[in-house]
Amino acid sequence: MSELDEVLQEFLVESYENLDQLEQDMVSLEERPEETEIIASIFRTIHTIKGTCGFLGFSKLEKVTHTGENLLSLLRDGHWKINRPIADALLHTGDAVREMLGHIETTETEGDTDYSDLITELERLQKTGGLEDGSSEVEAPDDQAMNAVDATPAEEAATEEPDDEASELAEDLDAKSEDEAEPATQEAVETVAEAAVQAAESAARSVAPSPKAAQAEQAQQRAADAGKGAAEQAIRVDVGLLDKLMNLVGELVLARNQILQYGNSQQDPIFVSTTQRLNVLTTELQENVMKTRMQPIGNIWNKLPRVVRDLANSCGKKIRLEMEGKDTELDKTLIEAIKDPLTHLVRNAVDHGVEGPEDRLAAGKHEEGVLLLRAFHEGGMVNIEIADDGGGINTDAIRSKAVRNDLITQDQADNMGEREVANLIFKAGLSTAKQVTNVSGRGVGMDVVRTNIEKIGGTIEIQSRQGHGTTFRIKIPLTLAIIPAQVVTAAQNRFAIPQVSLLELLRLEGNEAAHGIELIHGTPVYRLRGNLLPLIYLNHELGLPQKEQDPDNPIVNIVVLQADERDFGLVVDSINDTEEIVVKPLGSELKGLNTYAGATIMGDGAVALILDVIGLAQRAHVLNEIREHGASSKDDLAGEGGERKTLLLFAIGEGGRLAMPLEMVARLEEFELERIEQAGTQQVVQYRGELLPLIQVSSVLGGYAPRAREPHEKLQVVVYTKNGRSVGLLVDDILDIVHENITVQRESDRMGLLGSAVIQGKVTDLVDAEGVIRAVDPSFFAQTESAIA
């Protein structure tokens, strides 16, 4: 590799670029076969590669490109029209060239692959034009004549006298077409004649003071022709150099932050104004250096038309690929990182999303499916959408599959919204399994797609309407190197939280701070707009001392974060500024800690740790185990028999230990005994402006020894809500919330009980909450049902 000389290296780079262009052109040519400009562009591409490889002595490569070029020249001259066989053959030519270039890059030889089949096919197409009946008797122009046409004028002009060359070539061609093209039809003669004229023209163009200048002019001409007129204004720069620049700018940003902070305490007007100038310049420099690394997303999209075309053809589908926002730019490293996930999503959409033509027609859609790629900037993030108008995701099938694979319980499945179900396809257990159904089998590797996108700080979500299509929406940051972050403090330590995962900031004061946080058996939660937000205390999680609350003026600061689509609140001592931070990796001796994503240097020069929101959530068990990555969670799911459920444990009477599924619990409440009032025969409590009927669970179930109540003891109430109606179940103690495999040991025939199981090593009765309610108020469910009817 290191021996590759510069010329060869340049040839490879240029050829790869040309090939990318070729593939795009081929696909667009199939759509718009009349556009001669596209054919001309393809012709130029192949021709350039051929010319250079002849010069470098790669004869096999030359032979393949040469044959391809012959076919192309027939297309260009309108001799044949583009059709599937021709397009396939030409694309294969591109593949073959790519393969050989790969060999050249690694071994400096063209490799041993035999391309004679391809060449034969190309030659056959020259004769038949891909029309199987061979309707045209036209013989392709003689090979030799074509050879003459294809001699690259520039090359030879460089070695011979330009004037003579032009006339010689023209003469030569004339002679040949007279002598040897006789059996060919008029058309063929015209082809050759035209080519000859063109060759003569370009040779004449190269009449210039020195052969070198002629060559340069030619190259320029070619660049201009290809619409790359910017050649003089652009240079190639090593990506390594750009990376280094970016690192330096990152350091500069940190130094700037430090000076700004110091400057705030200074009076000297010159110093202050210079600092401000430095600030502005640094920001501008940062933006511009970032721009040098920006690439339009079109660079990776350009490969997709080919992918879609080939895959659609092999599935027998008709799919049109549309793209919007090709020019949307993002950092090169991010472009690289999303390439594979994006390709995967597009393949999936073609393979499983869009239906076959018959199905589409039957569903009243146009037989041609549309796959829309859209990219745009929004709120400092890049949004990419992949939308198909296919059958959508069959959520029922996913539900049952997920339940069968023990990813979720039947209850969970029943209570999940369509969107939640659709999101199940990102789960490892589901996606590594076989296809769910033909329609909704999007699965293989979807967890990898999500992992890859999350790795670069992005998110992916899915929207699907059955019968109308599926849309994947990816959001990724513009760059990874410098990110905005929220700085918080816990026990005098500062921590940075990437703003991507931040939802909102809450500050509880006074009474709200003292009583706003409730406990579900030791687990703190906060009611945020009617939903329970699990809380994590940063000090506690990191083993830092707790802050002493000022009893007169208590304050609680909560940072609401999102990890893996799960919201939770992080309680911190104080919330500071937001700052642009440069992410620096931690040493290997700290890699084992998943609570930190890295470290950064703050404005005052001190180091601050960057919190890894997902790692923190996992550590605090806010994330459901099934959401954790990979096989480990699957293993312990499969480890024991029985059903895995999240249960609320509570106590009734002396020694009565009961459990009910947590999904059935709307809220947990505490009421003073005094607040219980009587409405008819029913005990009620005023609750949120309504009357909440209460049911004494122990009296319904019976058989539990009543417990002596202390005066002023608070009553524990489990609120059950269905269709807007609520009922409170009075229990004596809330014990715990457990997530366990439950095996019902003994079925129960007692009313209101499902049976017993061993939970946390103790016998626990499973309560049939709905049965209990029905026993007291038989109309509860009937009413709710009629209410919605």
């Binding site: 350091e251 940190l254 130094a255 330590n493 500062r494 990191l542 083993g543 830092l544 620096k584 931690l586 040493g587 290997s588 001796e589 700290l590 890699k591 084992g592 800690l593 609570t595 930190y596 470290a599 240097i601 020069g605 001190a606 180091v607 601050a608 740790l609």
Partner: protein, 146 residues
């Protein structure tokens, strides 16, 4: 090896240690550190070394000595690692020495095996022993990524 190896030497209490000079990047006076909660106890924090973030390892803790007296500020010996560097916190710095190879010996068998694993050998200098630490072994402790 014809030439004698040079060692950067330092003290922890009265124990005299050395690390091959080629592995030492620089010596720094005390730097402010940022604690890393949940990390292994030998990790004292992170320091900002001209924009590079370095982990500071308390060598006293590593070799099983009692904690440094309050108010005594350690000195950073920054050593080069495969992936960057790490700072060792020591009590005070000695000279760079190149003791004669004839004075070298392996650490005796009865030294605490936990400490012995860290030692490349011992030089019997006049009046005191110079214990040579293996910088790579130093970084192999519980909580460090494999």
């Amino acid at each position: 090896m014809s030439t004698e190896t040079q060692y950067c030497t330092f003290f922890l209490d009265n124990d005299f240690f050395g690390i091959e000079v080629s592995r030492v990047q620089e010596i720094l006076r005390y730097q402010d550190m940022t604690e890393v909660p949940l990390s292994a106890p030998v990790i004292r924090g992170l320091i900002n070394l001209r924009g590079q973030i370095m982990t500071a390892v308390d060598l006293r803790e590593r070799v099983g000595l009692p904690p440094r007296e309050d108010g005594k500020r350690p000195i950073n010996v920054v050593i080069r690692q495969k992936d960057g560097g790490v700072s060792l916190l020591v009590d005070s710095i000695g000279d760079v020495m190149s003791p004669s190879e004839e004075l070298a010996e392996a650490a005796p068998e009865n030294v605490n095996p936990r400490i012995r694993a860290l030692l490349q050998g011992v030089y019997k200098l006049e009046g005191r022993l110079l214990q040579i630490l293996d910088p790579d072994k130093l970084m192999e402790f519980e909580g460090a990524a494999a």
